[in-house]
């Protein structure tokens, strides 16, 4: 094909891909056209053509950046939030959690707060409020919320203790030296002051709750993916250890990751809530045999949530 026709064809392809929102594909075609134009010595308007293409590429790069750095879960209208509630939750609790799963934390907190009045939902609502506060505000807000509940009489001692044993390990792992007040009932307080002289058993430490995590979103803070959040499915979980199988086709996403790297911004998605935390790369290995040969296995250890 005549080189002029080839260039024309590449440019019309690029324009179509751009109009379809396929920015990466459009950019590739513009680059190809540009390379071809460079090779032609005596082309009329060569410089202005190259300049126009360069402008198109720059505009595409800006659009790509806008899409990639745009908010993952922007605040929706009330109508949109109501639709999420009605479509993704069968009862009040599921509806509030659905809002949180779709990143509508402010409204989720309002709905969860209303559920605190219901004894059946109180503990789950409380834990999800803590998670939402940590997702949108800060750990301090979560601590303030706990202290407020501690000072009030909404929660029973055991309910509040469940919340405390959820929140305290998070604070400890973040290195925040703020021991939460342990809820005790009046009878326990009396027993503690009276010396009964009876046998004392050492009670086992409450087990730390690790939610089932279905997927994670890693925000890269360095390397070629810097600033981008990429979501990965969790293929296997054992406590705090997560294993991800990453296709060899997505190798570029994890090229910059190596054993021992700390990932400071991870969004964890579980069937009941989403929350932020950190993890360290325990190992990155390429699978040598079997149907997943060539893919990568990335083991992460959750260091804080």
């Amino acid at each position: 094909m005549d080189i002029n026709l080839q260039i024309k064809s590449l440019l019309s392809e690029a324009e179509l891909y751009r109009s379809q929102g396929l920015f990466s594909e459009a950019k590739d075609k513009y680059h190809a056209a540009s390379a071809m134009i460079h090779k032609i010595d005596r082309l009329k308007n060569k410089d202005s053509l190259l300049k126009a293409i360069s402008g198109k590429i720059q505009s595409l790069e800006e659009k790509t950046a806008k899409v990639e750095t745009g908010p993952g879960s922007p605040e929706l209208s009330k109508k949109g939030q109501n639709l999420i509630k009605s479509l993704f939750g069968e009862n009040d609790m599921q509806q509030a959690v659905a809002l949180a799963k779709f990143g509508q934390f402010e409204r989720a907190i309002v709905e969860l707060t209303a559920l605190l009045k219901d004894d059946v939902y109180r503990v789950d609502a409380g834990k999800n409020i803590i998670r939402c506060k940590m997702a949108i505000a800060s750990v301090d807000d979560a601590i303030d919320q706990y202290n407020q509940w501690y000072s009030g009489d909404l929660f029973t001692v055991s309910q509040l203790e469940t919340i405390r044993t959820y929140l305290q390990p998070i604070l400890d792992k973040k290195g925040i030296d703020k021991p939460l007040p342990v809820p005790v009932n009046e009878r326990a307080e009396l027993n503690a002051t009276a010396d009964s002289g009876g046998i004392e058993f050492s009670m086992p430490e409450p087990e730390e709750e690790i939610l089932d995590i279905s997927s994670i979103g890693i925000t890269f803070t360095s390397g070629s993916q810097k600033g981008k959040m990429v979501e990965f499915d969790v293929n296997f979980q054992s406590g705090k250890m997560l294993s991800l199988i990453i296709s060899k086709n997505d190798k570029g996403l994890i090229d910059d990751l190596k054993d021992g790297d700390e990932l400071e911004e991870i969004q964890f998605y579980s069937p009941i809530a989403m929350f932020k935390g950190m993890a360290v790369i325990a190992s990155k290995t390429q699978i040598k045999t079997g149907p997943k040969q060539g893919d990568f296995c990335l083991d992460l250890k959750i260091t804080s949530t």
Partner: protein
């Protein structure tokens, strides 16, 4: 999961349009909304888009009227196609009864089609469903672009890539022009209702 109200003889089922980003899932729903006014029972809601991209999902309720003395209601959804919205896709897929996989006919999107179909299989598996058993149809979209001289894959190529093992009904389409949109949806509904008949024995 479809809801079958035995007393009222009503079935409500969920059809999800799945596929890679920018393949035309929302365009399919928009065409249905515009062209099947008699069957559409509510507004089409597109839950937030960033530069035309679906971030959450689109939703369109339809009523097919009475079939075998049973009132059939259908909820159509699309998922966000971009790779990074994996968790949203999973959420939208929950309780799905039938799927339209919209494949992009552009040659440059060949890999994206295959990645998306694989992603569908993985997400279904997490809900305990098999891609080989769930009612599924494939639409080879954007066939109209051949007229503009844009390199498209042949239907045979796309069938080899996507449908070699699945062997599900497939249709060429151009959602932007409406070609193949209705026939794709109809086929998916038929597959879905047949599957629900096996499950609920709803048809007298």
């Amino acid at each position: 999961m479809a809801i079958f109200n035995l007393k009222k003889r009503e079935i409500e089922c969920k059809i999800v349009y799945y596929g890679p980003g920018r393949c035309g899932k929302t365009t399919n729903l928009e065409y249905i909304f515009k062209s099947y006014k008699k069957q559409v029972t509510g507004e089409m809601v597109s839950i937030n888009t960033e530069g035309d991209r679906t971030l959450f999902f689109d939703f369109l309720p339809m009523g097919l009227g009475k079939i075998k003395d049973c009132d059939i209601r259908v909820q159509l959804y699309t998922v966000p196609g971009q790779i990074k919205y994996s968790s949203t896709r999973k959420l939208v897929l929950r309780g799905v009864d039938g799927i339209v996989f919209v494949a992009d006919s552009l040659e440059v999107r060949r890999q994206k089609n295959m990645i998306s179909l694989k992603d569908l299989q993985t997400n279904l598996k997490e809900y305990g469903k098999s891609i080989f058993k769930i009612p599924l149809v494939i639409q080879h979209n954007k066939r109209d672009l051949a007229d503009e001289g844009i390199p498209l894959m042949t239907i045979e190529q796309m069938e080899r890539d996507l449908n070699r093992q699945l062997k599900v009904p497939s249709f060429p389409g151009s959602a932007v022009k409406g070609t193949g949109v209705g026939v794709t949806l109809k086929a998916c509904l038929m597959e879905t209702l047949k599957s629900l008949q096996r499950e609920f024995k709803w048809a007298k």
